[in-house]
């Protein structure tokens, strides 16, 4: 359990160990790997959003010189239904398999239908152009209202809504229904002095990582394979690829490259099984990289949503009842992040009576993937917008209104358990004191505030700590480093062992060289893999005490470890000099062999994270353009291991959230074809769009972690949507419930209000 401790190493702003390679271009990312004799693979993608595949003719493509292999759905094994239990997506391996390569039906524009491997990418392009496919086009179902309508076109005729109180009797695009309730909602609303409600929509958005998906696969005639790829979890690539291809897990080695951003989007597979089957057919290694266009069309974005929220409150601001109706698009296959969206929506507040209803809905868009606190930004955008309106109506300061209802240790979360120590009130109080909360605003300017929440995950991690012969330390772990986690691991190992940070090196090892690790996701790496590193370092300390005891000829329990040295316990009568880690390592051959510490764990007690964000915006009343003038992110990190990278998470999440609020969206035509599948028109924030992003780290230690660490990676994206929307509301006097707040939408609302 955590208690006040003086730390020597953690909490300092060290240079990350992988930094030099990343600023000099030496670091190898997904597309940087090549093998001799390697072929270039390309994927043919559906030109229709919804269609049955009648016939595929690859004969002409096969005749092109330099084409080594062509694959279609027929080259992939049939995969039976089996739930993917990893995360909230509640996906199905059968769906994963057909998402990777369509069989009889395509369910979104860009769905993979065939692939080729050729000597050059130009030849591969020519081969794709020569493949002929007959489609029977079906009506595309492109939004929630259409998909949920009574006589909607069905995307999957065999899909019945799961989770309904009464068993579903006819198929539906609604894959699942979910309900959370407490108390008596009718009574709660009856007790209210004020009841407010609103309906909010958010668009399909993409994680927008700058590195497109890429992999190289190579399989030998004995069925042993290696995959090099950029992923958030190479062990998941291994298990998913083995399921989709019916291969033995032990026959697949996955070597993770450096990864150029993921944000949840690289927690699943797209190219790896395709490259594998192409490699098998051609007998050569095969590399596939997505173009940016493919990344937008055919990797997993985040759900578009429609959320209806209703809040009842007393005149003094006390919430009496809340209800939420939440519909999340899943894409062409079931499994959106509706469940966590539903669990987060009221998580920051004490609510005596509530009802939350969630719907997971199929539409003809790419199957969604996780995106940073998956599900939370959408539902919490809706709730935090409505709370802002409620504060205005009650004439209560928005911070005070939230403080009045805020959860703290012992409060029961809407999603079930009681919170241990959490830092929500601390964030609110910090916001109230922050100079940015009272800065003067000019004409057409407004300030908005919103709360964010994410559970943070624990799950399985393992790590090894090797002590080299000179006392330097090598940490071997299996969590791909997306944002500086090698530095955090080294800091924690150094702290535990009592050695300088510079003596520690961290290796992110492949599936054959590291113990199993769940994905880098869920804000779990510093928490869970970090805990494994701490425990593995503890294992080293135990061994070092034994080695010192053996050297000194005393019992091991008479030895202490302090400042990187073994010393006799106070009062022990031994005429010995302290032994440093280096001395013990140098002598390890004589005292029992190399020093190797290990730990593996299923981490429990990931501390929930809360945040408050404040945005100041200026709205051009003639063009509807919103400029963000100031942005403040306040977040409880439990304990910041590397404060600069914690701030970086907060700032990056803010930028993504601002993009989600203002301009980012998938724009489709009436045929279900995405119109803006590129950085030009997807419009992510560029450097000149943003101000400096002020950060304040709050540290309310997580009692379930030795240093008090909470996950920090996901919370930052949750609050900005409503913070920006509330600021626009403050600047214009108008609530625009649908995102993005793009200039045409804002101007139309301004004009409508004038009329």
């Amino acid at each position: 359990m955590s208690e006040a401790r003086d730390y020597k190493v953690i909490g300092t702003r060290v240079v990350r160990p992988d930094g030099v390679d990343k600023v000099t271009g030496r670091a190898n990312f997904g597309a940087d790997f090549s093998l001799p004799g390697m072929l270039y693979g390309k994927v043919l993608r559906s030109p229709h959003a919804h269609a049955r595949i009648k016939k595929i003719d690859t004969a002409a493509a096969a005749k092109i010189e330099g084409v080594y292999a062509i694959v279609t759905g027929a080259d992939f094994p049939k995969v039976g239904h089996e739930e993917i239990t990893g995360g909230e997506g509640a996906g199905d391996f059968a769906d994963l398999a057909t998402n990777v390569m369509a069989r009889d039906k395509v369910v979104y524009h860009g769905h993979a239908v065939a692939a080729v491997a050729a000597q050059t990418s130009a030849i591969a392009d020519a081969a794709l152009a020569a493949i002929k496919i007959d489609y029977e086009r079906l009506a595309p179902v492109m939004d929630l209202d259409t998909a949920m309508a009574d006589n909607a076109t069905l995307i999957d005729e065999r899909l019945f809504t799961a989770g309904l109180p009464e068993k579903a009797t006819k198929p539906s695009n609604v894959a699942a229904y979910m309900e959370f309730k407490r108390g008596d909602i009718a009574q709660g609303f009856a007790e209210a002095d004020v009841v407010v409600e609103g309906t909010y929509r958010t668009p399909t958005v993409h994680q927008g990582y700058i590195e497109p998906h890429a992999c190289v696969a190579s399989i030998n005639q004995g069925g042993q394979a290696t995959i090099w790829c950029c992923t958030q979890g190479h062990f998941d690539v291994r298990s998913m690829t083995s399921k989709v291809l019916g291969m033995n897990v032990a026959d697949i080695r996955v070597i993770p490259s450096e990864i150029g951003g993921g944000f949840g989007g690289k927690t699943t597979i797209y190219l790896e099984p395709v490259a594998m089957v192409l490699s098998k057919k051609s007998g050569r290694p095969v590399k596939i990289t997505m173009t940016r266009d493919e990344v937008f069309r055919a990797s997993g974005p985040a759900s578009a949503t429609k959320c209806k929220i209703k809040i009842g409150a007393k005149k003094d601001g006390t919430f009496t009842a809340m209800s939420a109706w939440l519909a999340y698009e899943a894409g062409g296959y079931k499994g959106s992040s509706m469940a966590p969206g539903a669990m987060c929506v009221f998580a920051p507040y004490v609510v005596p009576h509530f009802l939350i209803q969630g719907y997971d809905v199929l539409v003809n868009k790419p199957k969604v993937a996780a995106y940073r606190a998956p599900g939370a930004p959408q539902s919490m955008y809706a709730c935090e917008s409505l709370i802002d309106d409620l504060a205005r109506q009650l004439k209560i300061d928005p911070i005070d209104l939230r403080l009045k209802n805020a959860v703290s240790a012992g409060s029961q979360a809407a999603y079930g358990p009681k919170y241990n120590a959490v830092g929500f009130k601390e964030c609110l109080e910090a916001a109230k004191k922050h100079p940015n909360y009272t800065k003067k605003l000019g004409p057409n300017e407004g300030r908005g505030l919103a709360a964010g929440f994410w559970f943070n995950a624990g799950m399985q991690s393992s790590a090894e700590v090797h002590i080299n012969e000179n006392g330097t330390v090598t940490v071997v772990e299996g969590s791909p480093d997306i944002g500086g986690s090698r530095a955090s691991m080294a800091l924690m190992a150094a702290e535990e062992l009592g050695v300088p940070y510079e003596r520690v090196r961290v290796v992110v090892a492949d599936t054959e060289n590291a113990g199993y690790n769940n994905v880098t996701g869920g804000s779990r790496v510093t928490f869970a893999t970090g805990m494994a590193v701490i425990q593995a370092a503890g294992d080293i300390i135990t061994q070092c005490k034994q080695r010192a005891a053996a050297t000194w000829g005393i019992e091991a329990d008479l030895v202490d470890w302090k400042d990187g040295q073994a010393i006799p316990k106070p009062g022990v009568n031994a005429d010995v000099k302290p032994l440093t880690l280096a001395q013990i390592a140098a002598n390890s051959g004589r005292t029992g062999g190399p020093l190797l510490g290990r730990a593996s764990l299923n981490a429990r007690g990931a501390g929930p994270g809360f945040s408050i964000n404040m945005a100041d915006v200026r709205v051009d009343p003639e063009t509807g353009k919103v400029d963000v003038l100031r942005f403040t992110a306040i977040q409880d990190a439990g304990k910041a291991i590397h404060p600069a990278y914690v701030e970086g998470q907060m700032q990056g999440g803010a930028a993504q959230g601002i993009g989600w609020a203002l301009n980012e969206e998938y724009i489709y035509d009436s045929n279900g074809v995405m119109q803006n599948a590129g950085f030009l028109d997807y419009r992510m924030p560029v450097a000149s769009d943003l101000p400096m992003i002020d950060t304040q780290i709050i540290e309310v230690p997580n009692p379930s972690h030795p240093y008090g660490v909470r996950g920090v990676g996901e919370v930052p994206i949750v609050a900005p949507l409503a913070a920006v929307a509330n600021a626009v509301r403050a600047a214009t006097g108008i609530r625009i419930p649908d995102l993005p707040l793009s200039p045409p939408r804002v101007l139309a609302a301004l004009e409508a209000a004038k009329a």
Partner: protein, 81 residues
Amino acid sequence: MAKVFFPDHLMQLTAGVRELEVHAESFRDLVAKLEQLYPGISKLLIGKVAVAIDGDIIHDPFLDPVGPDSEVYFLHRIEGG
């Protein structure tokens, strides 16, 4: 006796019971006792949902201890992005 709380989607199996008290020493023990009370429930608990024991969320619990005053909540699995 530990207090056990069921989410809405499991209440079909518990005949509407939302919470009950069970004496158990570990999660494994707890699930065995619940299976006796509500045959078939263990299938829906093991590997399908996460559990929070005294506020700590755990994926794939098994040997985790359950204390006499523990509160145990079943909830959806959360992985994150």
